[in-house]
């Protein structure tokens, strides 16, 4: 029988740094909740808003698969591998921090804020060579269907990471429904609702709620209103 966990939006950790407003689904930085450490290999889900002209200065990372999904505005990325890129709504960025990398992320726009999701997944091996990847997705490919945006396979759709994980985005009109079949035994799915209301099987979710489901091989997602959501399938034991 499927096991589930519901994280209502208002129960997330919150940090306001003036220029940065961040909601943490799991313990992060100064937010520590021993009951909210991870969902399987999914360790961080930060829902960030960065003020115009502000950003994260150069800082290091290691041994983590870091995925950024812009929701609104443009974010400039620079790193110690000499990558300079702007990620915008419709793009997805994946970075394997491995043995160590420095990067910065800035909202260069002086007038508009940036909203983006920052997601960290534990890697399946430590000390890999750092790498960076970024692609632009076709927004139509998620309208009333599930669009794969991440997998463990370099030749598959979307970006890839060092972990047996698959991410999908969906933008469903009211009453549209889809079945999600898990890709790997032992995996679970963490659903994050970007907007609107959906039901996962019989569980109603509202905007910015998170919902984990595991010990099952499939579930149904039904839009109760027009809705956008992110599905993150990750190993539960790693």
């Amino acid at each position: 029988m499927a096991q589930t966990i519901l994280h209502k939006a208002e129960t997330r950790g919150h940090a306001s740094h003036g220029w940065l407003n961040s909601y943490h689904s799991f313990s992060f930085s100064s937010y520590y909740n021993p009951d909210r450490m991870n969902f399987g290999a999914l360790r961080v889900l930060n829902d960030d808003t960065v003020d115009a002209g502000m950003g994260f200065g150069t800082h290091p990372h290691d041994n983590m698969e870091i995925i950024s999904i812009p929701l609104e505005g443009d974010l400039e990325h620079k790193d110690s591998m000499n990558n300079v890129a702007v990620i915008k709504n419709g793009d997805i960025q994946a970075m394997s921090a491995g043995t160590g990398i420095y990067h910065s992320e800035y909202n260069k726009d002086r007038a508009h804020r940036v909203k983006f999701l920052q997601i960290w997944v534990y890697p399946d091996k430590k000390n890999v060579e750092p790498r960076y990847d970024q692609i632009t997705l076709n927004l139509e490919d998620r309208h009333n269907k599930l669009q794969q945006i991440l997998s463990p396979n370099p030749d598959d759709e979307g970006v890839w990471i060092h972990r047996n994980a698959w991410f999908h985005l969906g933008k469903f009109d009211k009453c549209v429904s889809a079945e999600y079949n898990l890709k790997a035994k032992g995996n679970g799915v963490y659903v994050f609702l970007l907007s609107g209301d959906v039901k996962i099987n019989e569980q109603l979710l509202n905007t910015r709620d998170g919902f984990g489901i595991w010990d099952t091989d499939k579930f149904t997602i039904t839009a109760e209103t027009d809705a956008e959501f992110l599905l993150m399938e990750v190993p539960m034991k790693f």
């Binding site: 313990s27 992060f28 930085s29 100064s30 520590y32 021993p34 450490m37 360790r43 961080v44 800082h59 290091p60 990372h61 290691d62 041994n63 983590m64 921090a97 491995g98 043995t99 160590g100 420095y102 960290w120 534990y122 430590k126 000390n127």
Partner: protein, 100 residues
């Protein structure tokens, strides 16, 4: 009560300095950072640590050797794998093991 003494081992000097600085921002913790296995063993044998944090770049062979030596010298030592290299997970990783 004294500070919690933490030995941080990390091959990447820049990340090591960052992790040590972040740990030392907590007035109840004190970090000592080392890069090499020899430094790690010498420092561990010289000072009483409660916790060892294993950072990036440590080869599996070194990790096994270091952990075995630490456990022989101090069976109660807590050894933690550090992920992320910065401020994101560090505090929670330490809180988690200290709460056990």
């Amino acid at each position: 009560m004294g500070k919690v003494e933490i030995l941080v081992i990390c091959r990447h000097e820049g990340i090591l300095q960052t992790v040590v600085r972040l740990i030392n921002n907590n007035p109840e913790w004190h970090a000592t950072g080392v890069v090499t296995d020899d430094e790690a063993l010498a420092t561990f044998n010289r000072e009483p640590f409660k916790l060892v944090l294993l950072g990036s770049g440590i080869e599996k062979e070194s990790e096994d050797k270091l952990c075995a030596a630490f456990k022989i010298h101090s069976p109660e030592i807590i050894i933690v794998q550090h992920y992320g290299g910065g401020s994101g997970l560090l505090a929670a990783e330490i809180f988690e093991v200290l709460a056990r």
